[in-house]
């Protein structure tokens, strides 16, 4: 009897996890790719995020908050992963860059891409969360696990560095 209950609970847990895996992976990949700018790195980061999520799957009490919880894990995983790399791989990255015709407010897309890759991964994560995903700075801080003041600092430095790169 107890064995059957344990088996049922395990099956239910696996079912919930697998359904979330299928549904949330595409969005997590989009976030990871926007932060890391490298498809291979993004896939690895999302895979590691799911493994972390599985380990603490039962700690989340509100299933409605699962999406935000998974995004937080993924963003932090991206930051940790990128910090391990010694150099930014600018040239060999497989990220597609629009090289012809596409001009964003005076700058070519390739210039935007190179400028973004010169930022630290935390600065890039703040820009993606704030400007691409529309999170407030307080929400960005929650995703990154730091204080809002730190996020403001990252944002300010990121914009200044972007401007220097694009104008230089």
């Amino acid at each position: 009897m107890i064995g059957a209950l344990v088996h049922d609970a395990a099956a239910r847990r696996t079912a919930e996890f697998d359904a979330a895996l299928v549904v949330h992976t595409p969005r997590l990949l989009g976030i990871a790719l926007a932060i890391l700018r490298d498809p291979g790195e993004a896939e690895d980061a999302v895979q590691e995020s799911w493994e972390l999520a599985w380990r603490s799957w039962d700690s989340l009490r509100d299933p409605g908050a699962r999406g935000a919880w998974l995004r937080r894990i993924c963003v932090r995983r991206c930051v940790r992963r990128q910090r391990r790399l010694l150099t930014l791989r600018r040239t060999e990255s497989g990220v597609e860059v629009e090289t012809a015709g596409a001009v964003c407010d005076g700058y070519r897309a390739v210039e935007w891409e190179l400028a973004l890759r010169r930022l630290s991964v935390r600065q890039r994560a703040v820009l993606v969360l704030h400007y691409q995903l529309g999170y407030t700075l307080d929400e960005c801080a929650a995703h990154l696990g730091c204080r809002p003041g730190t996020v403001r600092q990252h944002l300010s430095r990121a914009l200044a560095r972007l401007r220097r790169s694009l104008d230089g």
Partner: protein
């Protein structure tokens, strides 16, 4: 400040346009995570509460066992069997909506098949495909087809050539798989794909033309499982975004649409030379009051069936010469007998050497041995009616209901059993 606004605007624009998720990436990650969890007990990785349950395959088996035990079928049987206490023509209703909402099924034989559907959790849905090797009693965990979110009520078609080469047409796009449906990538085709049909060594895709006045659908062909496509020089003079295609051999095919792009006004066309030439067939139905395409079914180049709603009645026609001449098998006014049931013809299927089935949406599934006399095979209380029906032999068939469930029969449509959710 204006400089900052300009910088922020440019940044938003670049982030929006850049770094698209590569095709197949989501499927690769899902497969890798599942494999990692499958391996975990063997590698003694401390994943708590895994308890030897590794993937959705096991979950599906648990659910299927519970489901089949409720319907009275021994869980150890090899093939779908009718429930012991089942009544002929019993309607299946009242089951809770499942997380996997089925949109289409494709079976190669009575055991091996695939479902395409939308799988949802936390209010988000993606298009996914799952496979079965036991007639639908158990399913593999769903594999995502497209990383973009989809609606739970999307439409999609799935077809397979052999066990590995799969095709999904959804929202005007075509996706292909070369590994049995585990990973998917988008085919390099323009938008507008409404049907896909693999037969033999070739795959044909039907591409709708959105122009006004109606312009003909295009037929594209691939001989390398969807990696490269070429448009056929000739095409059927049929129009409509709901056009359908039935291929009965490598060279014989029928196309039906809701409009005509030819002089004869026919909404039916056929080819018998591999698509090099198409002939318009006489349209036995006439204009549809709802503007719907006639539903067609064929198993041989010569025998073609059509069902349609006319201004005053519903009719079923059969042709024994590939659609050049038609014989009306039956017509029924609304409310008259089983054929006059509410709903519109949505699916027509011929069982090899067996009866013909007509699905109404919303409405019942009807069954006839000769096309003249119809009885109810699956009652209309199934929510949303019958969206699709398919038979691989006289006994084994499947339907997809309008509310996203699939049911199977192992006795020629006398009893229907819900497949594992």
């Amino acid at each position: 400040m204006a400089d900052l606004d300009r910088l922020e605007e440019g940044l938003r624009g670049h982030l929006r346009r850049s770094a698209p998720v590569p095709d197949g990436a989501a499927g690769r990650v899902v497969a890798a995570v599942r494999a990692r969890l499958d391996d975990a007990p063997r590698r003694r990785t401390p994943l708590p509460a895994l308890a030897g349950v590794a993937s959705g395959v096991v979950l599906a088996a648990v659910l299927a066992a519970a489901l089949w035990s409720r319907t009275g079928t021994p869980s150890g049987t090899e093939r779908p069997q009718p429930p012991a206490g089942g009544r002929p023509g019993v309607a299946v209703s009242g089951a809770a909506p499942t997380a996997f909402s089925v949109l289409d099924v494709a079976f190669g034989d009575d055991l091996h098949g695939w479902e395409v559907g939308s799988t949802c959790t936390d209010g988000s849905c993606v298009l996914a495909v799952r496979a079965t090797a036991d007639g639908g009693r158990t399913w593999t965990a769903p594999s995502p087809v497209d990383p973009r979110p989809t609606g739970a009520d999307a439409t999609a078609r799935v077809a397979f050539r052999g066990a590995r080469s799969g095709f999904v047409a959804a929202a005007g796009l075509l996706y292909t798989s070369g590994d049995g449906g585990r990973t998917w990538s988008r085919a390099s085709l323009p938008d507008g794909v409404v049907a896909v049909a693999p037969v033999g060594a070739s795959v044909w895709a039907l591409q709708a033309c959105p122009g006004s006045p109606p312009c003909s659908v295009r037929v594209l062909a691939s001989t390398d499982d969807g990696r490269h496509w070429a448009a056929m020089a000739a095409g059927p003079a049929v129009a409509g975004a709901d056009a359908t295609m039935v291929r009965v051999s490598a060279v014989d095919a029928f196309v039906a649409g809701s409009g005509s792009a030819g002089r004869g006004g026919s909404r039916l066309a056929a080819t018998h030379d591999g698509g090099h030439s198409w002939e318009q067939l006489p349209d036995p139905c006439g204009p549809s009051p709802a503007g719907a395409a006639p539903v067609i079914a064929a198993l041989e180049p010569t025998e073609l069936w059509v069902a349609c709603d006319g201004p005053a009645d519903r009719a079923v026609y059969r042709s024994r010469d590939g659609g050049r001449h038609w014989e009306q098998r039956v017509s029924a006014a609304p409310g008259a007998g089983a054929l006059g049931a509410a709903g519109s013809p949505a699916a027509l299927a011929l069982a090899p050497r067996g009866p013909v089935y007509l699905g109404l949406e919303p409405g019942p599934l009807l069954r006839s041995s000769d096309g003249a006399t119809w009885t109810v095979s699956l009652e209309a209380t199934t929510a949303g009616g019958v969206r699709l029906v398919e038979f691989v032999d006289t006994a084994h068939g499947w339907v997809v209901t309008g509310d996203g469930r699939a049911l199977g029969t192992a006795d020629g449509g006398r009893t229907w059993i819900p497949l594992a959710p």
